[in-house]
């Protein structure tokens, strides 16, 4: 089976973001999605620290450390972008104005519950940031993650064992081997990589998976 690279995963997510969408890309892996949004498509990237219309990273040496994204990386602003304060920024999420947010995850349940902020380990210092607001605020929450942990456990689960970020908030999960829809109807497979079978995927995840007759090959 051909696992997708992180760049392939980012390109795959980008394919599902339509022109005109207002999108927040979470810290880490989701940030890569920006690299695969076609420049001819007007897509509006929001960063919760107060900008809309985020552009690519500046050239080295051109950084302005008062123009950063939520990951505290230097960014640029497109013509037509703007700045605003934190209350307005989170009103954009909570008020349902963002179309899509893309987040990383420790676990996603087949019902769409998300766990991505806290391992729950004793001694771990928790940090939540905007994850809970994004998860429940955007009209659609996409998750990008490897399907399995380094120990081979499925991160798509029947019920999350890590502390939750939000309940029933995830609609689609992009992994390195398959794309799933999740939610009240349970999980269904949308696409699988070449060489992977639904039986193998069921075995890997250990969760019930609905299966369209002809899932698309990624």
């Amino acid at each position: 089976m051909n696992r997708m690279t992180r760049d392939q995963m980012a390109a795959r997510v980008a394919k599902d973001i339509p022109e005109g969408a207002y999108v927040n890309l979470g810290i880490g892996l989701p940030t890569k999605v920006a690299n695969y949004l076609p420049v001819e498509r007007d897509i509006f990237l929001q960063s919760e620290n107060g900008l809309l219309g985020m552009g690519p990273a500046p050239a080295p040496g051109e950084e302005d450390w008062e123009l950063i994204n939520a990951g505290k990386q230097a960014v640029t602003l497109l013509a037509g972008g703007c700045f605003f304060h934190h209350a307005d920024s989170f009103a954009m999420m909570r008020g349902g104005h963002l179309d899509i947010c893309v987040l990383g995850a420790f676990q996603v349940s087949v019902g769409g519950d998300l766990a991505n902020w806290h391992t729950g380990e004793p001694g771990a210092i928790p940090a939540v940031g905007g994850a809970m607001d994004l998860a429940i605020g955007a009209k659609q929450t996409f998750v990008m993650m490897d399907l399995l942990t380094k120990q081979g456990e499925s991160k798509l689960v029947e019920a999350c064992t890590y502390p939750l970020t939000g309940l029933g908030c995830v609609s689609r999960v992009y992994t390195d081997v398959a794309v799933f829809d999740v939610g009240a109807q349970g999980a269904s497979v949308i696409e699988m990589v070449d060489g992977l079978s639904i039986e193998e995927l069921r075995r890997l995840t250990g969760v019930p998976l609905a299966y369209a007759a002809q899932p698309q090959v990624a």
Partner: protein, 229 residues
């Protein structure tokens, strides 16, 4: 390419249906989107719920909408004015329902809708007729009334300049309810005096980010500044 500019006021309001809830910006005549309202009247739809600070002044704007018999209910803070005769007549005839809301609660409830809050405890109105029957609570020794968000299907607002992504700036006290109504409506339609190029509005001074605006229509503003209130 995303271009939220529409060619006419008529096109901008063409999907407002009977029974819609419509926020209308403006405080008195300042910031009143008269041409959008005229287009709405021309559409001929009725049973509208209107959210505005007032209930119309003189013969234009919300007053004209009420005069035309299109308003089932109005949510506002200050209906009775020296020139609110169309509302007064409709109200006394039992043809229009009034939900009277203190002005600050009106603003806070609209803002709460835009921000996705479920309800707010506000001190305004506690112990008055306008809080009768509402849930109250004492928090840290202060008495509050529980008020719910006010959202709408559409917002019709007036701004000074807008671009094709929907970014808006306003002019003086014509700003009033525009920015918060834009956040609280499913579809926000702004009439602007000037459509400007993308990037022409300094990103530091955008008042309403384009995410809150779905349509922009340019209406020459020559008459509005000169109009008496």
């Amino acid at each position: 390419m995303i271009d939220k500019i529409v060619e006419s006021a008529a096109a901008a309001v063409a999907d407002i249906q009977d029974g819609a809830s419509v926020m209308i910006g403006g405080f008195g005549t300042a910031g009143m989107p008269d041409q959008l309202i005229d287009a709405l009247i021309d559409r001929g739809v009725g049973d509208l719920t209107i959210i505005n600070n007032n209930a119309g002044n003189g013969e234009t704007g919300v007053a004209a909408l009420i005069k035309a018999g299109r308003v089932k209910k109005i949510i506002c803070s200050f209906p009775r004015q020296s020139d609110s005769h169309h509302f007064d007549a409709a109200y006394r005839a039992g043809q229009i329902e009034l939900e009277l809301v203190p002005q600050g609660n009106l603003a806070a409830r609209i803002q709460a809708a835009g921000a996705g809050l479920g309800a707010i405890f506000t001190p305004t109105g506690f112990g008055t007729l306008l809080a009768e029957g509402k849930e109250t609570r004492t928090i840290d020794g202060v008495d509050y009334v529980l008020e719910y968000p006010i959202k709408a299907d559409f917002a019709l607002i007036k701004a000074q300049s807008g671009d094709r992504w929907g970014n808006l700036i306003y002019r003086k006290t014509a700003r009033n309810f525009g920015p918060i109504m834009a956040m609280a409506a499913t579809t926000t339609i702004a009439q602007v005096s000037h459509v400007v190029d993308l990037g022409a509005i300094d990103p530091e001074i955008v008042v309403t980010p384009g995410i809150f605006v779905q349509r922009v229509v340019q209406i020459a503003s020559t008459t509005n500044h000169a109009l008496a209130a």
